[in-house]
């Protein structure tokens, strides 16, 4: 029977959670790297035993951990993330110019075909790549030199590149998302980038439909249909049918279109999940009821999923990196909360089970489907 391995990054360490295909009994190992903020843990599609973890504290900076045995043992690899060439400035919160400074890695995106190749999304916003399993990292500097980059401004979490989506049919085609700069796309492996924000409207910036400056929270794509991309923006749930060149709103009947994560069902490209929260100033679910919303129509029409989720006095948030789906026949949906809960639905969202509670605030959730 197939198995699943859930990789959870929290504010105070990482956890590895395993179960068989029924997904009703869980073994939880951790905390790994206790006391460190673990922003993201992700396995290689090419070799599921190869896993990368981003470990950070404000005191001692960035560490990258790598496991070659499915998370049983770990070893630090390279942590030298240095911007290429002239550093330049972006905007600080107060509008003044501020030189780019590496702070931490928010996201790892391993190659689909080579376990030694991984992209890293960094704060301050930049994309790095390793081709030697994390020993060394090299920036793809064209993104940071985009014509709009001097105007990029940090969101509340920092000027972070938090999402990297690689076209499974053509690894040179990628989308990245930056808070608060927006989406950028490349079709030449990162040698050049185009702003990819047409159709976005953001009231929080001087020009609501500016080429860049939008606070995009997350992108999701089904691998069978790379031109269809879903977005959870600061406000608004959006959809692109042309690989990110243009966007239209699909928030429809959601109770709030503010949120952080968004993901797509493993076998149904038009089935999409979001977790609405009240607003930019109230980062918790409406009415104290934790509800995932599912659209089976690629957006616009949404249904609340709540069976097994807390339906009173619940004031947690689900962060952008904290939702994932497995690839079992009955697609499993997973998410973690800032209240330290990790939930799974083994049936596409109809019923939810608690895998863990009382963990530190959950920063990221990934899942691996294993033979």
């Amino acid at each position: 029977m197939s198995r699943v391995r859930v990789l959870v990054g929290t504010r105070k360490g990482a956890f590895v959670m395993t179960a068989d295909g029924r997904r009703d009994r869980w073994t939880i190992d951790g905390p790994l790297f206790g006391g460190w903020e673990v922003l993201h843990v992700k396995g290689s599609p090419a070799d599921p035993d190869r896993i990368y973890a981003s470990q950070h504290t404000g005191w001692f900076g960035q560490v990258v951990q790598r496991s070659d045995d499915g998370g049983r043992t770990w070893a630090p690899v390279g942590n030298r993330f240095v911007y290429e060439g002239e550093i330049g400035n972006h905007r600080w919160y107060d509008g003044t110019p501020r030189p780019w400074q590496f702070r931490r890695v928010w996201h790892f995106e391993p190659s689909a075909t080579d376990p030694d190749v991984v992209y890293a999304g960094a704060e301050d916003a930049a994309i790095f790549r390793t081709v030697d399993g994390g020993a060394t990292w090299e920036e793809l500097p064209a993104l940071r030199r985009h014509a709009t980059s001097a105007e990029w401004q940090p969101g509340a979490g920092g000027l972070c590149l938090h999402t990297i989506v690689i076209d499974p049919a053509d690894a040179d085609r990628m989308l990245v998302a930056i808070s608060a700069a927006g989406v950028f796309r490349t079709s030449d492996g990162g040698r050049s980038w185009q702003a990819s924000n047409a159709g976005l409207l953001s009231d929080g910036i001087p020009n609501p439909d500016a080429e860049a400056g939008h606070c995009v929270h997350r992108l999701a794509m089904h691998p069978s249909r790379p031109d269809v991309v879903f977005m959870q923006k600061h406000w608004d749930v959006m959809r692109s049918d042309d690989g990110g060149r243009s966007w239209r709103e699909v928030s429809g009947n959601l109770p709030s279109d503010f949120g952080f994560p968004i993901d797509v069902h493993a076998h149904e490209p038009d089935t999409v999940y979001v977790v609405p929260i009240r607003s930019d100033s109230e980062h918790y679910p409406p009415d104290g009821k934790l509800r995932v919303y599912r659209s089976r129509t690629g957006g616009d029409e949404w249904e609340a999923l709540m069976n097994g989720l807390p339906q009173q006095h619940c004031y947690v948030n689900v962060l952008r990196e904290a939702m994932a789906v497995d690839a079992l026949d009955d697609c499993g949906i997973y998410f973690g909360t800032t209240g330290g809960q990790v939930f799974v639905s083994p049936d596409g969202g109809d019923h939810w089970l608690t895998i863990a509670e009382h963990l530190p605030p959950v920063l990221s959730v990934e899942v691996q489907t294993l033979p």
Binding site: G35, W36, T57, G58, W59, F60, G61, Q62, V63, P76, N79, R80, F81, V82
Partner: protein, 98 residues
């Protein structure tokens, strides 16, 4: 040999006990001690001082002989008792965060 005490997180990273010893040629300075630490434990590169600027990370402090050396130049001599191996050079995670 120069005695160095690392903070708990860096001990775990370097897989060492509370105190390490490093061989530092004279003149013994904080910068030379850090060079020796990073040479012996490459995993600590970037955790005590910045990879590029080589400056101390903001929330790392250097103490020795009941003195805060954090704001001394990295090429200033350490106290004689540290250079003689009698007292440790303390690398501390600053009290911050409540």
């Amino acid at each position: 040999m120069i005695r160095v005490v690392l903070p708990a997180h860096l001990r775990a990273l370097a897989q060492v006990g509370s105190e390490i010893e490093v061989d530092v040629p004279a003149p013994v300075t904080p910068g030379a001690i850090l060079d020796a630490i990073e040479q012996r434990f490459p995993v600590l590169e970037g955790t005590i001082r910045d990879h590029v600027t080589r400056e101390r990370r903001a929330l790392v402090r250097f103490f020795a002989c009941e003195t805060d050396l954090s704001h001394e130049p990295l090429d200033a001599p350490v106290p004689a008792a540290v250079a003689a191996g009698l007292e440790p050079f303390l690398i501390i995670g600053a009290m911050a965060g409540g």
